[in-house]
Each structure stands twice: as structure tokens, then as C-alpha cells.
């Protein structure tokens, strides 16, 4: 064997080796990312009483459906009721947020007026503010407005989102300004330009904001914890959190089935609308 062929062989085997290492590491992190939810799924879809340490794979469809059924028909702190509340709250918040932030972004992105930069920086400064700072006053405002245990109490305080404003502005800045001139020549009003020209072109931004805001509303825990005292108004976060720490196997099964059900909406959204979340975050991250 000449030294050059030996070198070639060792070079090729090193190539193979590094390729294998790359795949192993990349797949390892896929496992890390999905394992907690996969594990929850496996525990739920296994016969009751099997030690949780051995449940890497689901083994019984019927057992799973029984546990899910028990959770769905639970009378106290029902997850279906909670899902309904959370859906309505999230939908209200998303609708309000998309409206007010897109309207403001329309102005910030496409027009010039005195005070524009100051107002925009003021809005963006809220991005770094810890939510804990406004928690107590918001609670007092909610009391004054009789908003405890209401959907508007859950939804309205979070509507003026600086991140949503930022995403809309980034998007609208990319739209050609000739559209506005064309609109005003056609006699469209200022609001008409927003409604008939800009918004129909901003579908991608609307979806990005809506998907992100919905997932966030679904995940919100501390604000519902503060303003909801009536268990019939509990959000999914409060119902799921009430199951944390169960120890005996019957209650563990029940808790795991509750977690699995409460993870379904964000997962479904991610599977179908992943593109919008990823696009939105990648671009705002780069420009921010």
C-alpha cells in the first residue's frame, strides 16, 4: 500500500466519521426536542399501572382513549370548558391585536408625521419591560372595570403588543409606496387605503401575528392566575397546572392525559402553520 492510497483511505474514513457524528448529534437533538411530549403520549396510551419508567412507546390504544375520555368527561375543572374559554379569549385578543397594531403599523411604515420616531420608540420600549411590573396595577384596573373572571379582562390588556406592531411595520415597509399614490388618485380615503389596499396584501403578516399571538395566549399562565377566581372561567393553563404534582398512578395517568389534550391546539397550529411562525421570527430577529 503506497502512502498516498493510505492517506486517501484515512481521508475518506474521516469524512465518513464526521458525517456520522453530524447525523448522530442532529438526531440526538431531535429526540431531546420531541421526547417530553412523546413520553407524555406514551404514558397516556399505555395500560394503567405500568411503571412510567418503562414507557418509551405507546402500547394500548384503548387504555389511552379511556384516560382521554375520563379527562374529557370530568365534571370539576373540565378541560373542554377550559379549552372553550381559552379559545374565545385567544380569538378576542388576536382579533383586537391584529386590528390595532396593523392600523398603527400602517402609519409608522408608510407615512411621515411629527413625533413618529418618538412614538415608535416609546411603543418598542415595552418589549423589554418585565410583565411583573404592570401586574398589580392591571389587576386593580380589572377590579375597577369589573373585569375579573371575564373574557375581556383576559384579552384586552395584552392587545397593544409592541412585537405585533414591529412585525406589521417590517412587513408593510416592504410594500411599494406607489400603491398609496394609486389609491389616493382613485379617491380612496386614508382608512380606505388601509382597508382596501394594504390589508389585502398583508395576509402573511396577519397570519404570522395571529399564529404567534394565539400560541402565546394559550400559554399564558400568570395573568389568568391573577384575574380568574371562578373555576368555571379557568383557562387551560390553570386546569393543567392544577394537575401538577400528582403522585399515585391513577392521578398521574389523569394528569398526563390532561397535558396531552392541552398541547393539541398549539401542536396542530404548528404542524399546519409552521412556516408563518418561523418566517416571522427569523425576519424580525434579523432586522431587530
Amino acid at each position: 500500500m503506497t502512502s498516498s492510497t493510505r492517506a486517501r483511505i484515512s481521508w475518506r474514513s474521516r469524512q465518513w466519521f464526521s458525517l456520522a457524528v453530524r447525523w448522530l448529534l442532529a438526531i440526538f437533538w431531535v429526540i431531546v426536542a420531541v421526547f417530553p411530549l412523546w413520553y407524555t403520549f406514551s404514558v397516556v396510551f399505555s395500560p394503567p399501572g405500568v411503571p412510567v419508567t418503562r414507557q418509551f412507546f405507546p402500547s394500548s390504544f384503548n387504555a389511552g382513549m379511556q384516560k382521554v375520555g375520563a379527562v374529557l368527561t370530568q365534571t370539576n375543572l373540565n378541560i373542554v370548558t377550559a379549552s372553550g374559554v381559552t379559545f374565545l379569549y385567544a380569538a378576542l385578543q388576536v382579533a383586537g391585536m391584529v386590528f390595532v397594531t396593523s392600523l398603527a403599523a400602517f402609519e409608522f411604515a408608510l407615512f411621515d408625521f411629527p413625533g413618529k420616531n418618538v412614538l415608535f420608540m416609546l411603543a418598542l420600549s415595552s418589549l423589554m419591560m418585565p410583565a411583573a411590573v404592570t401586574l398589580i396595577p392591571l389587576f386593580q384596573i380589572a377590579i375597577k372595570l369589573s373585569w375579573l373572571n371575564t373574557l375581556q379582562g383576559l384579552a384586552v390588556p395584552g392587545m397593544a403588543s409592541a412585537l405585533a406592531l414591529f412585525i406589521f411595520r417590517q412587513f408593510m415597509e416592504g410594500l411599494p409606496r406607489e400603491l398609496i399614490d394609486a389609491g389616493s388618485i382613485d379617491g380612496a380615503s386614508h382608512f380606505g387605503i388601509y382597508r382596501r389596499i394594504i390589508m389585502p396584501l398583508s395576509g402573511n403578516a396577519v397570519l404570522t401575528v395571529a399564529v404567534w399571538a394565539f400560541v402565546n395566549a394559550w400559554a399564558n399562565y400568570i395573568w389568568p392566575l391573577v384575574i380568574l377566581t371562578d373555576p368555571t372561567m379557568y383557562t387551560v393553563s390553570l386546569v393543567a397546572a392544577a394537575q401538577v404534582g400528582q403522585r399515585s398512578w391513577t392521578t398521574v395517568d389523569f394528569a398526563m392525559a390532561t397535558y396531552l389534550i392541552s398541547a393539541i391546539p398549539p401542536i396542530v397550529i404548528y404542524v399546519f402553520l409552521q412556516r408563518y411562525i418561523i418566517q416571522g421570527f427569523s425576519t424580525t430577529g434579523l432586522k431587530g
Binding site: 431531535v30 390595532v100 392600523l103 398603527a104 411629527p114 384596573i141 400568570i222 411562525i277
Partner: protein, 305 residues
């Protein structure tokens, strides 16, 4: 004169009023649910207030009182340890993953990106709830896996030394996915010509990473670090649920999982000490501002050099 200024106002209004009208819905909500509460918090922090009787002005006594409590120092120490794990480890691992995924073909890049970002869409209350089982001594998957690697016997949920690392672990499961996405998008935005030129000059892959990728990623790295700090200061869901906290009993054994926002929540709604809770919130706000200012100053100094 009067006419002139009137017409000036009229001109101003006719030209700009329409813009302010459309900004109004956003800024009404912004003022009512953000600016006003912010000021209200600072005012309340200077009063003795149980949420029922009228607040009583007591100067900065809330600040001097709470800073001396062991719960304040414990929660701040826990926060400090948490940040020291989450920011360096979370950013470094995310950067390594981004560099790793960059080596695959576009189809696989898309696949890995989708999978790595998955934890970000899982609500934190759920990851805390599930990890509570995964971390349980002896029967949880994480202690079992560590036992195999020879690092057995750690009580993640009850040993004060490991309780902050446990919170950090759960937080990073999610945060790494988020950081990864931003860093990966940053790598994709670097012009390919830079790498081609470096290859012509005979630079190794490692040299390219050190001399091209990382300097080009600086703005994104900066964003990820700032964001990591701000996010860490707000930590609540994960330690609250991992430690099975309630109004009666919170923070876990020897307050090993007590975090500032938990202490704020408890002092306000558990002990009706709204003044003290607001003072703590304002301290948190001040820390956020100082850290952000330092980071920006550091960055502009580096850019100037």
C-alpha cells in the same frame, strides 16, 4: 396674528390629523394598559397598601424593608445562578446546533429547523408539568439516563444545590430552540461569497467559523443574549410549577426555586403587601434597564473600536 396661528393649526390638522386618528386605538390601549400601570406601580411602591384601605405614603420604606429580607436575597441569588447557566449555555448550544444544521442539505435543514423549534410552541406551564415527572428521583427519565452515565443520585427537585439547574434545564429545553432559529436565520443571511473567498485563500472550516460566521452573527448573538437576560428576569411558570408552589408553601425546599416574580406574586396576592410587591417589581425594572443599558453601551463601544 390670531388668524395666522389658527390657520397654522388648521393646516397642521388637515395634513396630519388622519395619521394620529389611526394611531389612536393602539395608543389608547398602550396608555391604559401599559404606561398608566407603569407609573401606578412606581407610585404604589412608595406606599403602604393592602389593596383595600387607602394607600398610605411611606417614602422608600418598602424598598429598605424588602431588600433586607432573606426571601429577597435568596430569590436574587437564584436568579443570578439561573442567568449564569441559561445565557451562556443556552446561547452556546444553540450556536453549535445552528452551525451543525447548516452542514446539511436544504431539505434536511428545513426538517431539523422545524423539529428544533418545536419546544418553543409548547406552553411553559406544560413543559414544567411534564418535566416535573421527568425529573422525579429514581423513576424520572432524566435521573435514570444520568444514572447510566454514572451521574446518579441527584435530587433535582429537592436538593437546593440542584434546584436552580433543574429550572434552567427546563427553560433551556425551550430557549435553545428559540435562539437556534434566530442564529440559524442569521447564518443563512451571510453572503456565500465570503465563504468562497475564504476557501480560495485556503481557510479551514474552523477558521471560517471563527473569522466569518461569528463576527457576521454578532448582531444576532447580541439580540439573543439581551433577550435571554430579559426573559430570565421574568421567570415564573417553570419554578412555580416545578416546586408545586401555593400561597401557603412556595419556592420549594429552603426556597431553592424561589424567583423574583414568584416573590412579587406572593407578597401581593398571598400577603396583601401591594406596596412591597410593587417595590420589588420596580427593582426588577431597574435591573432590566441597567443590564440593557450596559449591553448596549458595550456593543456600541465594540462597534466604535
Amino acid at each position: 396674528m390670531k388668524n395666522l396661528s389658527d390657520s397654522k393649526v388648521a393646516l397642521f390638522l388637515s395634513r396630519y390629523a388622519k395619521h394620529y386618528v389611526l394611531l389612536l386605538p393602539f395608543f389608547i390601549l398602550f396608555a391604559a394598559f401599559y404606561l398608566y400601570p407603569l407609573i401606578y406601580s412606581i407610585v404604589i411602591s412608595l406606599t403602604k397598601w393592602d389593596g383595600i384601605r387607602p394607600p398610605e405614603f411611606i417614602d422608600i420604606q418598602n424598598y429598605t424593608r424588602i431588600v433586607g429580607t432573606p426571601r429577597f436575597s435568596t430569590s436574587m441569588t437564584n436568579l443570578g445562578r439561573f442567568v449564569l447557566i441559561v445565557v451562556p449555555v443556552g446561547v452556546t448550544l444553540a450556536l453549535l446546533l445552528a452551525l451543525l444544521v447548516d452542514r446539511f442539505t436544504p431539505r434536511w435543514q428545513k426538517f431539523f429547523r422545524g423539529m428544533y423549534f418545536f419546544p418553543v410552541i409548547i406552553p411553559m406551564f406544560l413543559s414544567a408539568a411534564i418535566f416535573r415527572y421527568l425529573l422525579t428521583p429514581r423513576v424520572g427519565m432524566i435521573p435514570i439516563a444520568l444514572e447510566v452515565l454514572g451521574i446518579g443520585g441527584i435530587n433535582w427537585l429537592n436538593d437546593p444545590t440542584y434546584m436552580v439547574p433543574a429550572v434552567a434545564l427546563v427553560d433551556m429545553w425551550r430557549a435553545i430552540g428559540f435562539n437556534f432559529l434566530l442564529l440559524f436565520a442569521g447564518i443563512k443571511a451571510i453572503p456565500l461569497e465570503y465563504f468562497e473567498a475564504a476557501q480560495v485563500d485556503g481557510a479551514s472550516r474552523f477558521q471560517q467559523i471563527i473569522h466569518i460566521t461569528i463576527p457576521q452573527l454578532e448582531p444576532v448573538l447580541f439580540l439573543v443574549v439581551v433577550n435571554g437576560f430579559i426573559g430570565a428576569l421574568q421567570t415564573f411558570d417553570i419554578p412555580w410549577l416545578l416546586s408545586l408552589s401555593t400561597f401557603v408553601n412556595y419556592g420549594g425546599r429552603r426556597n431553592g426555586m424561589l424567583f423574583p416574580v414568584m416573590e412579587i406574586y406572593i407578597s401581593a396576592w398571598g400577603r396583601q403587601d401591594f406596596g412591597g410587591a410593587s417595590a420589588f417589581a420596580v427593582i426588577l425594572l431597574a435591573i432590566t434597564l441597567v443590564i440593557t443599558a450596559i449591553q448596549f453601551a458595550w456593543r456600541s463601544k465594540r462597534l466604535a473600536d
